[in-house]
Subunit: 233 residues, 2 copies
DNA sequence: TGTGACGTATAAGTCTGACTTTTTGTTCGC
DNA sequence: GCGAACAAAAAGTCAGACTTATACGTCACA
């Protein structure tokens, strides 16, 4: 599941990245490339590549004569899928999940409205199929099956919006949904009301009813906010 | 203005990155590190670091025995500020500006609602100050002054939302606003209605009226959508 | 003729060591 | 006390040798 490939470079990154995002090194901490290279038992070349990547994520800043400085959270590229994954795997996972859920609540209703306008016949069919899959797995502790179709459903909506910025959040939403199922709440069968909403949403998109699609999605995401005890906006 | 530092590495990146995002190399094209190093007259070490960064942005994929493959747009990290800047500087700037404006229309209303709940007294003051600045520059072709306060206004809103994902879009929104003023529309004084909306929004936030703040922001962003002839959702 | 195993060429991956450049902090002279 | 020259430290750059994975072509065998 880890995006980073096989190389030595990737393995070092998958260790150092999470350490930084977890806050092991407070902002302003200074690391030295040579030390890191020694610590991970890799050559300076490899270590330099790792630092470059971390720098492109704005997690660190490399300056001559001073070293590799850890930047404050405010600077991080928090939309980088890798950074999101690292943070979700770390200690402030709950906080992260809240941020992302609020983001969802802003994006998805608008995306659904656009999907109602732009979805292809094939996408409408996929949507219906996913909704049916959710219904079929909504009872009897079939959480994994439910999650699978739920993730697919939202991914189709985001793709069908025709906006690439929305489409690219498919992975993030999937991550949030998976996190909800696996770690936090949802030990019992999903809320029947939520299932119904998804079925109705598939319907609204198929019928090109943008306003209804948006409204239904707003209800869905409001449910997600309430689950995390976030005040409904 | 270019984020990338002074190093050799940065200069190569600032050439190759825009070329790729501009579509000079169609998806599936294969580049070779050695060739690139020769073309830019840098060592392989430097070239490898550049490729690693491009890889972390999912613009390319490097595989043994085949080379550096350009990935399809769908794979790109379109939220990476660097990628956004490169694309805005390139040929599909209009398309990009549309995507980002739609994103704004989804994010900002929710952010404004949250800002009304969470804004500090200082942030409320800044907001009022920005709104006044917009008013003061709304007549007599003082577009630069207007833009300055407009960008600051929206940045404060996004920061005051208390959600880091929203806050990080400040640069993007600023870029969109600047693009609108400099390249596209707005050759005359800004719409007085828009100015009024900003003043009212500052008011709503100060009065902790979340619903009104959200509604006003929706009107603002709908105006932005209409300017680009995007169907109001 | 199709299919699978094998070998080879290729391009990325890694390591090492030497050298350059920038920048910080100190020291010295005024 | 202050500015300028100096020295040290760390990143930046380079060149070259070596390693490793893998796509592709070859050949034997069915």
């Amino acid at each position: 599941m880890s995006t980073t490939g096989r190389g030595l470079h990737g393995r070092v990154l998958d260790t150092l990245g999470p350490e930084i995002t977890a806050g092991d090194y407070p902002p302003g901490s200074v690391l030295r490339t040579d030390e890191l290279a020694h610590r991970f038992d890799v050559s300076r070349s490899v270590m330099r590549e790792v630092v470059r990547v971390l720098e492109s994520m704005h997690l660190v800043e490399s300056r001559r004569r001073v070293g590799v400085t850890v930047l404050p959270t405010r600077e991080w590229n928090v939309y980088d899928p890798q950074v999101i994954r690292w943070r979700l795997a770390g200690a402030d996972r709950p906080r992260q999940l809240r941020s992302l859920t609020v983001l969802r609540s802003a994006i998805e209703p608008v995306a659904a409205g656009l999907a109602a306008r732009h979805a292809t016949a094939e996408q409408c069919a996929e949507l219906t199929e996913c909704a049916l899959g959710m219904v079929a797995n909504s009872r009897g502790h079939r959480l994994e099956g439910y999650l699978f179709h739920d993730m697919a459903f939202h991914r189709v909506i985001l793709n069908a919006s025709g906006n690439e910025m929305f489409a690219r959040l498919g992975d993030v939403v999937a991550e949030v949904l998976a996190g909800r199922t696996h770690h936090d709440v949802m030990f019992e069968d999903p809320d029947p009301a939520a299932v119904t909403l998804h079925v109705q949403l598939a319907e609204a998109v198929r019928e090109r009813d943008a306003a209804r699609a948006e409204k239904l999605t707003r209800e869905i995401t409001e449910g997600a906010l309430q689950e995390l005890d976030i005040l409904a906006p």
